[in-house]
Amino acid sequence: MTEPGATAPRNRLAVAGARATTVAMLRNQPRRDIVLNAVFAGMLLLAILIALAGLVALLAQAFVKGAPALSTDLFTNPPSTAFPEKAGFRPAIIGSLELIAGVILFVLPVGIGAAIYLEEYADKSKWWNRLIEVNIQNLAAVPSIIYGILGLAFIVRGPLDLGFILAAGSLTLALLVLPMVIIAAREAIRAVPDSIRQGSLALGATKWQTIRSQVLPASIPGIATGVILAVSRALGETAPLLLVGATVFVTFDPTPFGSDGYSAMPVQIFNYAVRPQEEFQTLAAAGIIVMLVVLLAMNSFAIWLRNRYEQRW
């Protein structure tokens, strides 16, 4: 901005003075506008500070309240109503890990497959392809408890009739986050420029060879970001699991197809949180800390991945 030669001290003073005068002349707005503008900016800043304060208060409250219960017991002990000081989350943590493994096994192929179809194959002028598209957008905003109803009526009972097993919960969560994976994967695939595809096709590769060897490798970081965020959503989801059989006093390690019941981290937290006694409130807060640490790590990793591999074509 500054003119050459303006760095010498005397010149700098002259330049700054000239600049300030011009700026002041152009700032010649009505006083009322200047005041209003400042008040408005203050209100906006206040809004964002309130939102951030809410976040900070939430984190701080969980840490302050849950700190006394933070110990390895949380990871090694089963839940207990008789001995809250020894109670933990072991079956819930194992249940959540198994649920998530199932979600990943399902959404990876199906989500990426649907995204490839919509981006690379689907002819947008055909009504059925537009239907699939609108349908996915709608599914992404269906309340999670409705997926619980779907799981109860269609997966636990009804056509699939799996019963109240962990795999049924896993499938329900997978259907819940599938639209999110598809939307993210489509965005990642769309970001691969057409010149890459045309180059590959010009060398004689078939459409599928082009997708497999060029488009997919280039979009993996983007897809991974979407999958991680979707999985972290599935990990924190409680409501649908209440309907598809996640119970809370599971004292053994759950198995995917075992019919003795299963538990999950957020459901266990919920169950501690509804008990008024202080010990259980502390346990709930400690569980929340564990879950927040895992989720924040996952989300940060997703953001890091996005920034690290953000490719400029």
């Binding site: 506008d33 900016a41 951030l52 497959g113 179809y117 905003a141 409705i146 779907l150 972290s232």
Partner: protein, 305 residues
């Protein structure tokens, strides 16, 4: 020179497989609709439609039971109303600040931090609403006996509302900020050239230009607020209450489904069917809002991108 194309069956099979993945999503919607409709029809064979739609008493456990869905629809709207009163000013304020006032560096740090809020599990927000917002903020600050007073009540619609509000602030802030950032700079520069202040540019130029995106974010946020389960269950209670009074315990539609349809409910009972009919009401309400929101988002994309 160029070979005539041989049929490639492998390619076709792969395309079919990928299409099947896409179709699965349509099947999911179909399955949702089918699983809702069947038991809902069964429910209306026992409970008259007009009692369900216009009744204001929701007492399934009484003998004889009463299924007036308006009592729990009111509960849902009660929470959503206070959530929106909190989240619209905060979310839009944050969006305008980030898009028009913040330096690129501030925006780059604050936006992801707000998005962290969107990633916090709702059970954690519900716990925060029930064990902090309610006893530490609402009860001390609520003016005495206004509307019946807040002290001594373990659940309040307002506590659920503020918790849900905290959850949807990032939705409003993030989508609105995208819409405002998509407004071309030429419009801003034109206004500045006419001598407008930053506030005038933000409120009279950028805000109207981004309006469809902003409305879309608000509609989507209402739909999220209506569909939220854990926060209302933990902070707003399970007492059906036909009121919009913020300092009363209420039961939202989602909370009814959540507490009723647990593992031990017997298939075919009236309670079981009532869960599905409430689910139908919830599904129709959120679907309508989502359609509006999707349409609006598409509109602003078409204009500026």
């Amino acid at each position: 020179m160029l070979q005539s194309q041989k049929p490639r069956y492998g390619e076709k099979a792969i395309q079919g497989l990928l299409a099947a993945c896409g179709i699965l999503s349509v099947l999911t919607t179909t399955a949702i609709v089918i699983s809702l409709i069947g038991p809902t029809i069964g429910f209306f064979e026992i409970v008259p439609v007009d009692e369900f739609l216009f009744g204001t008493d929701w007492t399934p456990q009484f003998e004889p039971p009463s299924f007036g869905v308006l009592a729990i629809v009111a509960g849902t709207l009660n929470v959503a109303l206070w959530a929106m009163l909190f989240a619209i000013p905060i979310g839009l304020g944050a969006a305008v600040y980030l898009s028009e006032y913040a330096s690129p560096r501030v925006r780059k740090t604050v936006k992801p931090v707000l998005e962290i809020l969107a990633g916090i599990p709702t059970v954690a927000i519900g716990f925060f609403a029930a064990s902090f917002i309610l006893p530490e903020i609402i009860q001390p600050l609520w003016p005495g006996e206004l509307l019946g007073g807040a002290v001594g009540k373990p659940f309040l619609a307002l506590a659920g509302g503020l918790g849900v509000g905290l959850m949807i602030v990032p939705i409003i802030a993030s989508i609105s900020e995208d819409a405002m950032s998509a407004v071309p700079n030429g419009l801003r520069e034109g206004a500045y050239a006419m001598g407008a202040t930053k506030m005038k540019v933000a409120t009279r130029v950028v805000f109207p230009a981004a309006l469809s995106g902003i409305v879309a974010s608000v509609v989507l946020a209402i739909s999220r607020a209506v569909g939220e389960t854990m926060i209302v269950l933990l902070a707003a209670g399970s007492t059906p209450n036909f009121t919009l009074n913020p300092v009363e315990p209420i039961q939202a539609m989602t909370a009814y489904i959540g507490v009723t349809a647990t593992g031990d409910i017997s298939t075919g009972s009236l309670d079981y069917k009532s869960v599905f009919s409430v689910g139908t009401v919830l599904f129709v309400m959120t679907l309508a809002m989502n359609m509006v929101s999707i349409r609006l988002v598409r509109r602003y994309r078409e204009v500026y991108e």
